[in-house]
Amino acid sequence: MKVAVTAMANNKTVSSRSLIIIFSAVLVACVAAIFIMESFGGEGKRACIYVEGELEYEIELDKVAESYTIELPGNTVLVEKGQISMLEASCPDKLCVKQGCISSGAHSIACLPNRVMITIESAGNGVDAVVG
């Protein structure tokens, strides 16, 4: 740093061209950073498990190498590569278990009695909400 400063000090003037290059470099870096953040931010299929409206787990489903279960008070969630399901539930109707696996953001799994909700947020599908 000291060397660079000295070197610059030795130049009597910094040309307009140098100044343009410095600003251009910063400008290009900023634009590139924004582009990268917009293009690649949050890519993949992410399952979110909410209990009582609070986000308790976030799982990148495409990165699941081996299936595993998550124990919640009253529910057991099965996490597999690319999909997620409710394996067991203490509620009487077990609608959430009967629903089976979800693998896209098209539908969510809800266990109303136990206040558990599983959603999938997929980057890039462009869908803002699902009705049904």
């Binding site: 100044l19 900023c30 109303l112 803002d128 699902v130 009705v131 049904g132």
Partner: protein, 345 residues
């Protein structure tokens, strides 16, 4: 320090480059937020999610309070609600709030115009089938006939803020209350400065304004045959989008499939040939009520209703996996052909 001195020697250049750099940085800050404000909670027997793009926690809480208020006001199962009070005074006149009386009138109006396809007095039948307790069972024909006598025109009357039920009749606003609550929650968000948000309330969607950048909202419609998939998407502006489907609540007894949307003329699950109906309408309560009414009416009668009264657009799915879209949505609906669906003729 030295660079600063040199820069000062190029004031014109700096006058162009520095603001340019600032502009780029400012633009990057104002780009659509990747993580909008979200609030999720349970009310009205379903999961509710509010997503606001320029919202504050206070705005979301105000919307949540609205939904909880209407849940407490309209739920027939909650002791202290106005509907509970009306039902407990069946056979007598009951004074209620202006809002409750108005919403009952809206439901009665849709019922009248649809030839009885929507009837808030089928509530005792819905209970008998077990769709409230979740202890599903097919009632006897005699029991269905007894309960059918408590429904139909004249079972419910509204005069000013006074509601009177025929003796033995009970009502539920379950077919319209979610849409109304979503609409009111949207108003609360707007009052708190939110200009871009989406409320998901079970099968009800209410949008507010536009997405950041002025884009329309893209709503996927659940595939009734495979609730993990969709039949397609519809792009909408500021409106309500509500779906009624046979897949939402059902059971099978002795190999026969029974769903929760009862035909008020028979007391049995509607058999109009549609498996889902999606209504797009600026009024949330109307959208909600019409989705049930159109499900019961079927495609032909629904189109007649639309031609006569207008005010909404619809997407129908029939049991042959055919999709019918009303003219107003022809350009904004996009079919997902990979789901095995095609346009009907």
């Amino acid at each position: 320090m030295i660079i600063g001195n040199k820069a000062f020697s190029h004031p014109r250049l700096c006058a162009v480059l520095v603001p340019l750099l600032c502009a780029v940085l400012l633009c990057s800050c104002s780009l659509p937020n990747k993580k909008p404000e979200k609030l999720q909670f349970f009310a009205m027997e379903t999961v509710i999610e509010i997503t606001a793009y320029n919202g504050t926690g206070k705005a979301l809480e105000a919307a949540k309070e609205k939904i909880e208020y209407y849940d407490a006001l309209f739920s027939p199962e909650k002791d202290g609600s106005e509907i509970f009070r009306i039902n407990s005074r069946s056979g007598y006149a009951t004074d209620v709030s202006e809002e409750t009386a108005a919403l009952i009138s809206t439901a009665l109006d849709i019922g009248k115009k649809s030839g009885g396809a929507l009837d808030i007095a089928v509530y005792p039948l819905v209970k008998e089938w077990g769709f409230i307790s979740k202890a599903y069972s097919v009632p006897s024909r005699d029991r269905v006939d007894d309960l059918l006598a408590l429904t139909g025109s004249g079972a419910v009357s509204v005069s000013g803020n006074t509601v009177t039920l025929r003796s033995g009749t009970e009502i539920s606003l379950g077919c319209i209350a979610k849409g109304y609550a979503a609409q009111k929650a949207a108003e609360a968000l707007r009052e708190n400065g939110v200009s871009g948000a989406i409320i998901s309330l079970g099968g009800n969607i209410q949008t507010i304004g536009e997405k950041p950048g002025g884009e329309k909202w893209k709503i996927a419609i659940v595939d009734p045959a495979n609730p993990d998939g969709s039949i397609g998407t519809v792009c909408v502006g500021d409106t309500a989008v509500v779906t009624s489907g046979a897949y939402q609540q059902n059971f099978t007894e002795n190999g026969v499939f029974y769903h929760h949307i009862l035909d008020p003329s028979t007391g049995y699950p509607s058999d109009s040939g549609v498996t889902s109906v999606t209504i797009v309408c600026p009024d949330g309560a109307m959208a909600d009520g019409l989705s049930t009414a159109c499900f019961v009416m079927g495609i032909e009668k629904s189109l007649e209703y639309q031609a006569l009264y207008g005010g909404f657009e619809a997407i129908f799915v029939n049991d042959s996996k055919e999709v019918f879209v009303t003219d107003g949505l022809a350009d904004s609906f996009s079919l997902n052909e990979s789901g095995g669906y095609c346009y009907g003729k």
